[in-house]
Subunit: 130 residues, 2 copies
């Protein structure tokens, strides 16, 4: 498998990561996602990692990259479905995923994006939905 599918859901894009990202796959994902943001004018990107029980520093870096690129393209990134063990690991690795929003599941992530589109707040980017 060389490509992770990107689904358009209204104003947002949804990516479900189910496999460990290796270099090529990660680069393809970054490129595809930015192209999709450009083509669709999406205002938000949801990255579902509920299938991942392990997130290493490489994955953390890729998520950070995606958030940075999307931000330049005027789309916000929300990571959803993070397992508790992954959150523990990320902090222990010293990867607080700054610049990335998080939400417990896709629905809450969408609600977070919708609310941010309405309020148009752009001050802090580490806010967390609960």
């Amino acid at each position: 498998m060389e490509r992770i599918p990107i689904l358009k859901m209204g104003k947002f894009l949804l990516v479900t990561i189910q496999v460990d990202l290796y270099d090529r796959l990660a680069l393809n994902l970054e490129e595809d996602l930015i192209q999709m943001v450009f083509k669709t004018g999406a205002k938000g990107v949801l990255i579902d990692i509920s299938a991942l029980s392990i997130v290493d520093s490489f994955m953390g870096k890729i998520i950070g990259n995606i958030a940075g690129m999307s931000s330049i393209m005027d789309a916000e990134t929300v990571v959803v479905g993070m397992q508790p063990a992954v959150a523990i690991t990320l902090i222990e690795l010293g990867l607080p995923l700054s610049g990335v929003h998080t939400a417990l599941n896709v629905e809450k992530g969408m609600a977070l994006l919708e609310s941010r589109m309405i309020t148009g707040q752009e001050d802090d980017t580490t806010a967390d939905d609960d």
Copy 2:
């Protein structure tokens, strides 16, 4: 990876299949999906297969099983994102995916489910959205 994540999107469930299904994974998916339909009362199941360039008879059988089970639980199944080559293969294999709706992408699949919920039509199950 032992489980394919199932995402709840409003009244519907979304499954993105990115890897070849083997026995255990397929059985887990069937079980998880039926449990989710039961727990959430979902009225529709969207199965995204845009990442698959090959669908064999086993995968066709699993999709048929899911559609049958969901139907008993009062939820309709829509397969979305099928690549043209996959459609050709399915027909050549003699697997017309009867009982399963299809749509070109997730958005159209959701629209199809919404329209079917409104009209409440339950006569034919091989209609195709375009």
